[in-house]
Symmetry: C2
Subunit: 301 residues, 2 copies
Amino acid sequence: MNPSIKQLKAFVAVARSRSLAEASERVHLSQPALSIAIRKLEETVGGPLFARTTRQLSLTPEGEAFLPVALRLLNDWEEAFADLNELFSKQRGKITLAALPTLAAGLLPGIIADFRERYPRINLSLHDVLADEVNQQVREGRADLGFSVPPLASEDLVFEPLVVDRYVMICPLEHPMLGQPSVRWEQLAGFPFIGLNRLSSVRQDIDRIMEEVGQPLDILCDVNQIATVGRMVAAGLGIGVLPSLSFRQIATDGIEQRPLVAPTIRRELGIVMRRRDPLSAATSALKAMIRETANRSCHGP
Amino acid sequence: MNPSIKQLKAFVAVARSRSLAEASERVHLSQPALSIAIRKLEETVGGPLFARTTRQLSLTPEGEAFLPVALRLLNDWEEAFADLNELFSKQRGKITLAALPTLAAGLLPGIIADFRERYPRINLSLHDVLADEVNQQVREGRADLGFSVPPLASEDLVFEPLVVDRYVMICPLEHPMLGQPSVRWEQLAGFPFIGLNRLSSVRQDIDRIMEEVGQPLDILCDVNQIATVGRMVAAGLGIGVLPSLSFRQIATDGIEQRPLVAPTIRRELGIVMRRRDPLSAATSALKAMIRETANRSCHGP
DNA sequence: CACACTTACGATATTCGTAAGGATT
DNA sequence: AATCCTTACGAATATCGTAAGTGTG
């Protein structure tokens, strides 16, 4: 026979008021029920916690010694479950995100703002890193959610598409390519090219396609920031290729764009998660919010 | 709806084995019962602790965070009740006694030895002090049990008689008083007297009686130790008065004794306790042992 | 006689185990 | 086919409240 939380609460209430009648009100129990609860508790612990004189209750030395322990036990108990409840009710928690710079700067800020307004006590942290690093952080649990391109066939990661982006060529105003409504990839070979970091997913896409069409790019230089590509192109140094969503995030004065075709590349962007580990309640709520936003803005796959 | 200890134990068991089937054996519960217990716990805490895939269970981030907390909670719980149980089963505890030197040296050593053999883990401490100090220590809760003469009418103390002692006169061998089988108190006035400390209950008894019989004592000196009285008397310095029980505790070579009569004083010795505060289980056991010993040795009141 | 705790007993609620169902490996 | 979790349902257990009992001030 084991003691229960209720019995412990009963003990504390009686110990404090030294009266069953008074304590029974505090515990929302009838007097006889309380009497029995105390008796059962005493049976399980092996001795009397109270000394009875038919009309009065007082703590035995053992009861006296146990009272502070019981209080601590109950406090810890309540606190532990209150904490857990806060976690589930999203009044507390921490979410770590890893996202491609494009998404970190484009899709996420608005969503994060909404999320923060709804759940202000949830701690959010966002790592804007390249695709491989996004996947790596998710894989290792350093990020709860990743925003990236689909990871290479990976046992432990799962990808959920969010939006589909397409590549555009960007060039200075009055560039010869602007005479046509769209640009074929193979045509890129004829001009100096401002490229992104070779490790970026955008650049790897581009290199792969150019290899497929059999034309080498004339790389003028590689840069890390998308905005830098834009400025260099605006300055007339060459042309570049950016995802359409990235293009919207940079200053476009002095730049024109044309869609890239033949082939038309679908750049799928979405959520990366660990396959087995479930999401926390807060992370799950954030993900739902993201899905909703993505669907509403009609960029769905 | 509140969580229960059983549910917490169920959670821990399942979290450890990541399987209901395996955990159900450890908890001595059927698989369905465990399933329901977990489900109810999850309902009360407001969210899933485990992620289910019909065939496999894994901890959610919240469950992961809660597991160590749950373990601590259960540990504290078990420990608290184990401690309490030790107290009641007298495998642990502390008893502080206060006793007159006569009793501390006479009645108690044997009883304490027996008690210690039976309950070796109970910590015993014995203060051998004068009657007033015995009562004071009991009154203030510094001692759990006192052994003394009956306290002056006292609201908060209660006295239970154990043994009755009588006073004897002691004198050197071949003393003139030895010619008679008993000595009257008034006869004490004629000889140099070795007295005990004026604060001792023995001395206060003697002074009171001598006042009643109207004869002043011829005090040679006052000493603190009973054994000292004996040696001074043996050296022929004078006569003395001791309780019979005390007399048995000292070296008696060179000393003779005679009972004191007219009046014959009953020196009642017994247990002093606080009236309202109940005894601890250990103290109660010790008291019972003392009563039994006192009754068996036929010194009952 | 009033008050405070205990005991008795019928009612309610919770929990349990067996049996059946559904999904995955 | 075997294993694992879930749902369904009747049974056992525990707990509760009302009512009656007991001893004290």
